[in-house]
């Protein structure tokens, strides 16, 4: 049993946590692609920027001496998401909308989003330096160790409080997004515009409003993903820049333009990364007792060495693009 608990700790929990973050980021990328038809590279900076906004709010809370029962990062999250949504709207208005008005090609917007990435990253580093910060300087990070000796395991099941909250919050937001897209007038208009932008305009749908709503949702979810990632590890200026490609991989694997695909893609990439570096000997070690001597498991039996963890996502990305560019859920392609 110890081995199975180890597997859950190493693969199930960390894969789920990683998958949640990828999924939340990928939803924004996929929505923006569906509505505005360009690959928004600066999404990583919306995530990092959102996390820094949350961090500043949390620090302010701590400075005012407000103690909260759950980690302050989660308490300030709604407010941070609002601010991040405003930031996203401002970026669109300042940098992308003028190019769209000129009728620029999607490639130009993509390059502009690189410019935005560099500017935001430069600004964050300018104000916060290159070091890392923790949300848990003024409060402890609670770690739950669930005793599993009842089922014959010598190891506890380990999960931190932010991880539990992260999974719950992600689940809640995905459900909320689902209801928004399938029940609300604006959500349906978003799907309509992603499906056929010309017809949406002809139907009298206020496309400028839909664009704004898209940025609000993408910005808010990016802030959520960034903050939760910072709560799980640490906050640093290149927090999300390093994982923007796995997030793109998630969006593409799920089919660009497909919100549900992005969620599935995020979980798939998250689990693929953790499974690929998992040392299978740890799980199958008990088999050594029954296996013959010449077939003993080696000490290390992972598909790829740990250093290549992020590379797994790139390989999946490239293979998907080559084998099925529309993604596992048929996405936008032309």
């Amino acid at each position: 049993m110890t081995e199975i608990i180890f597997f859950i700790n190493q693969v199930v929990i960390s894969g789920l946590v990683l998958g949640c973050i990828y999924a939340l980021g990928a939803i924004g990328i996929t929505l923006i692609f569906g509505i505005l038809r360009f690959a928004h590279f600066a999404h990583s900076e919306l995530m990092t920027g959102g996390a820094f906004i949350a961090f500043l709010l949390a620090s302010a809370f701590a400075a005012w001496g407000i103690a909260t029962p759950i980690p302050t990062g989660f308490v300030v999250l709604p407010l941070a998401m609002v601010l991040a949504a405003i930031l996203a709207l401002g970026i669109d208005k300042g940098f992308y909308a003028p190019l769209r008005k000129r009728g620029a090609r999607p490639v130009t917007l993509l390059i502009a989003s690189i410019g935005v990435t560099l500017m935001i990253q430069g600004l964050i580093r300018l104000f916060f330096g290159a070091g890392s910060y923790s949300f848990f300087e003024n409060e402890p990070k609670e770690i739950f160790r669930i005793d599993t000796s009842a089922i014959g395991s010598t190891r506890p099941l380990v999960i931190t409080e932010p991880q539990v909250l992260m999974i719950v919050v992600t689940l809640a937001s995905v459900v909320a997004l689902h209801f928004f897209l399938t029940r609300s007038r604006l959500g349906k208009a978003m799907r309509a515009m992603a499906d056929n932008a010309d017809l949406a305009q002809v139907s009298g749908i206020n496309t400028a409003l839909v664009v704004r709503v898209t940025w609000v949702i993408a910005g808010a979810l990016a802030c959520m993903a960034g903050t939760m990632l910072a709560l799980d590890v640490t906050l640093k200026p290149d927090l999300a820049f390093n994982i923007i490609l796995p997030i793109f991989a998630a969006a593409i694997v799920g089919g660009l333009g497909q919100a549900y695909g992005a969620i599935a893609g995020g979980l798939l990439i998250g689990f693929a990364e953790t499974l690929a570096v998992f040392n299978w000997t740890m799980l199958f070690r008990p088999l050594n007792a029954i296996l013959p001597d010449w077939l003993q498991l080696p000490a290390q039996l992972a598909l790829v060495p740990t250093e290549y963890k992020l590379t797994v996502a790139f390989v999946i990305l490239v293979v998907t693009l080559l084998v099925r560019p529309t993604g596992i859920f048929k996405g936008a392609s032309s």
């Binding site: 999607p106 993509l110 390059i111 410019g115 290159a130 790139f314």
Partner: protein, 428 residues
């Protein structure tokens, strides 16, 4: 048009003089050598993007390949490795690689013996897996042996650095051929993401294959193709002059390479080959309906552009004399090049050249410049009683990233065709 270009180049020359005057000649001569290498790289991207409309976001990967190549060719031989079992074990790994490749190729031909559809797909995946396991089973022990007992890493061949530059071009061409073969069918934004993914894979490999590249342990000192400052000092020259003399020598060599490349590509561009390339870029469908083999031409252009990136990457590494895989970042080695080409003028070689030199100078100068600004503001705020700005050094280093982003967004907004735009020729 010509006048505008001349004025811009004149302005650039004045900028160089000013930097030379303020920062000193040793600093400036170094930056100019680097600018020449970056110009070569920017020309490579200009060929791919400006001529061919191919969105290569994986420049960093090609630069790293060039750097690794020049290290391998020009670094002195490592006798400890060659005297150990290492070469033999690597030979076996290579053999395993070949067998694996054969297995994969065989699986792809499975339809000939009646295995088709899903079964063939499953067989292909299985073949890849078997080949991978086979290769790893030979390579892993070889790598572990070399790193611990076989001399640490394979070392170099001790050949002339210029040969290393050429090999950098060749190796980049080989990789570009494979990448292009599998990716060029993708639409623009997918191509961008695929190339960025591939360059990250290349970076991960070079960074972690310690037995081949020494990885994060870095390799130095890599020899120069021209006499080093130390050589001049041995001849009795003082340090400052020796630095300038040595760098001037390197710069001349780099400029010769640059001039040859410029001459070759402007000849090609004004000939039938260039006309065909522009036809393909501007109207894919019309060009292919006219019977042009679009994919083959695009592959050609992708490989050619990548060769220049490989050579440029190699020139940079031999100049700084150290190959450090962890120093490669997408911002410094991919996006910077893009900004150079876009600001300079995609589709115009002189534009790319101008953009490369200008942006490289902006990139290196924005750090000391912002430090000066910070120092000034800090002095002022200290006097005003608000205290000094903390960590000026670290902050100044980050300013250039912001400046780069600002430059590209402004350029896209107000000069989308670049400062020296493509000359559109009307052809009957």
């Amino acid at each position: 048009m010509i006048q505008r270009s001349l004025a811009l180049f004149g302005g650039l020359f004045v900028l160089i003089l000013v930097i030379g005057w303020v920062m000193g000649l040793p600093f400036t001569s170094s930056r100019l050598v680097e600018a020449a290498a970056y110009a070569l790289i920017a020309l490579g991207l200009n060929i791919q993007w400006g001529y061919g409309g191919l969105f290569n976001f994986g420049i960093m990967g090609f630069l790293m390949v060039g750097g690794a190549a020049v290290t391998f060719i020009s670094f002195p031989v490592n006798p400890e490795f060659w005297g150990s079992d290492g070469p033999m074990m690597l030979g076996r790994a290579l053999f395993a690689f070949a067998i694996g490749a054969l297995i994969v190729l065989a699986a792809r031909q499975a339809h000939r013996i009646g295995i088709t559809g899903k079964w063939k797909g499953a067989l292909t995946v299985l073949a890849w897996f078997v080949a991978y396991v086979l290769y790893r089973s030979q390579l892993d022990p070889a790598a572990a042996y070399i790193e611990s007992a076989g001399g640490g890493w394979v070392g170099g061949l001790g050949a002339h650095p210029v040969l290393g530059w050429l090999f950098g071009g060749v190796l980049a061409a080989g990789i570009a051929y494979i990448v292009g073969k599998i990716c060029l069918g993708l639409r623009t934004d997918y191509l961008a993401i695929a190339t960025i993914g591939i360059s990250e894979i290349i970076r991960a490999l070079i960074k972690n294959m310690d037995w081949l590249t020494r990885g994060t342990l870095t390799v130095s000192p890599i020899p120069w193709p021209t006499p080093l400052p130390q050589d001049y000092q041995a001849g009795g020259m003082d340090i400052a002059s020796s630095l300038i003399a040595a760098r001037a020598g390197y710069l001349v060599l780099a400029l010769v390479v640059l001039a040859i490349v410029m001459w070759l590509i402007s000849r090609a561009y004004s000939g039938p080959w260039g006309r065909m390339m522009r036809a393909i870029r501007d109207n894919h469908i019309a060009a292919s309906s006219m019977g042009k083999n679009v994919t083959a031409r695009q592959l050609e252009i992708f490989v050619f552009g990548s060769v220049l990136m490989g050579i440029g990457g190699a020139m940079l590494v031999s100049f700084v004399q150290i190959f450090d895989p962890s120093s490669y970042q997408p911002i410094n080695h991919t996006f910077l090049i893009w900004v150079m080409v876009i600001v300079g003028g995609a589709g115009n070689n002189w534009g790319a050249l101008f953009g490369a030199v200008l942006l490289w100078l902006v990139w290196v100068v924005s750090e000391p410049l912002s430090k000066a600004v910070f120092d000034f503001v800090s002095y002022w705020s200290t006097n005003a009683g608000w205290g000094a700005i903390p960590e000026i050094e670290a902050r100044s280093a980050q300013m250039r990233v912001f400046v780069l982003g600002l430059v590209i967004t402004i350029a896209l907004r107000f000069a989308p065709k670049g400062l020296i735009p493509e000359v559109v020729k009307r052809e009957g």
